[in-house]
Amino acid sequence: MGLIETEDLSVLYGDVPAIKRVNIEIEANKITAVIGPSGCGKTTFLRALNRMNELNGARTDGKVLIDGENIYNGNTDVNMLRRRVGMVFQQPNPFPMSIFDNVAYGPRIHGIRNNKLKRIVEESLRKAALWEEVHDRLDSSALMLSGGQQQRLCIARALAVNPEIILFDEPCSALDPISTARIEALLRELKKDYTIVIVTHNMQQAARVSDYTAFFLMGELIEFDETTRIFERPKDKRTEDYITGRFG
């Protein structure tokens, strides 16, 4: 049984469905990549897993079960859910605050102070492979960091609230190849402790980092399997066409 399961998950903007009746099981401590052409609903699918779609007024039908609990039932505490299911965005989006305050933001909100807070900040920055670069300037602004560093800072910020699952929405699309390689190495490291779902438009990236791959097309989940199978022996013709670059 997967850590995350969806049952007939649909998300609609007005009357237009962005994803249609998606059924998937995502395993714990694995990296699951979500691929597909632009507008296929992969980001909408990702944002359904921590209920971020409702911020844009989307309607969600069906179920998303995390540990067997439907996060769309009436009594889910959305803030607690988002603490469990962290998110890293496409553009690095550190707050206009110091490096320390960025990482400390989440723990502080959840009431953590003083020495414990300092320890969490250090641990999170270490896990995000940023500590060595910033430990002597934690008080300087996060906006002074490079794009790649900012994105690792955002990862550290997400780790600081101790999530179980981390959603990555095309985390490298704004980064150069070296920064991308660092993030990918980091993802492999992080999957020991976290369950990772990553949306990417870059098929090589999916092939390099993920254990499982889901292929979306026009809002539908076309194929979901182990990454090696998807890339070597796809069952569906459309998957094959996409990964061989015939469209997309």
Binding site: P94, F95, P96, G106, L143, V161
Partner: protein, 281 residues
Amino acid sequence: MKTGVIKAILCAISLISVVVLLGVVFYILMAGARVVSPGFLFRSPDYINFEEGGIFPQIVGSLYLLAVSLLFAVPLGVASGIYLAEYAPRNIVTMCTRLFVECLAGIPSVVIGLFGLTFFVYYLGFGPSVLSGGLSLGIMILPWTVRASEEAIKSVPSTYRAASLALGASKWQTIRLVVLKSAYPGMITGILLGAGKAIGEAAIVLLTTGGLATFLPHSLFDDVGSLPVYIYLVLTVIPASREIGEAYAFGASLVLIGIFLCISIFALLLRNRYIKRLRGE
């Protein structure tokens, strides 16, 4: 060629604006400097031996009135701005509220003064006082603080909100800890515009405070002097000669401009400090 001509014309026009404004300031400076002295700044007006008097109660009174008006308008304006920008549903009621705020900004100050006189002074029984004047001025600048707050909050990038919410912060925590911090510079600019209007306002103060006070108010319910009212009175009713009245009016104007300049500089420094902090310098 064409670009050059347009540029030259625009440059000339803007030069004219600058020269006109500088001329006005220079004229006030020259005319006012003749009467501004320590005695003028720190003595009370003397309506019998006029040239022995000063404007100290008027300076303090203007600052009192400004403080009361800001204490009224800023919290209300910021709270309304937050509601309009972050919570208000997009419907006809919200649209009407915005329209109403716009209209409120356009009400002539003498009409607000009339309202202040009937409502605060007579109906609520505050009398001609610091409180009546400050609240009436607060009503005048409220639309500016609402609009400035709303616009400043709206201009905060939505990625900050998304990042905060994704960490499990509630909407209110997000607004309080991330959005407002980024919106301060814009709010300060808007509040400063309001403060400038309030400190220079004569009609409202004339109608809602006595305005002739030669002493400092001891409570919110005391009569209070103000610089714009002083300027109006010395030009119209009090002094024996026109020359003396004008000279003292210019003196008070110079002080008024000086006070507003100080407030502006303080506000801009504060704003730049926030901007620098946001940019991480």
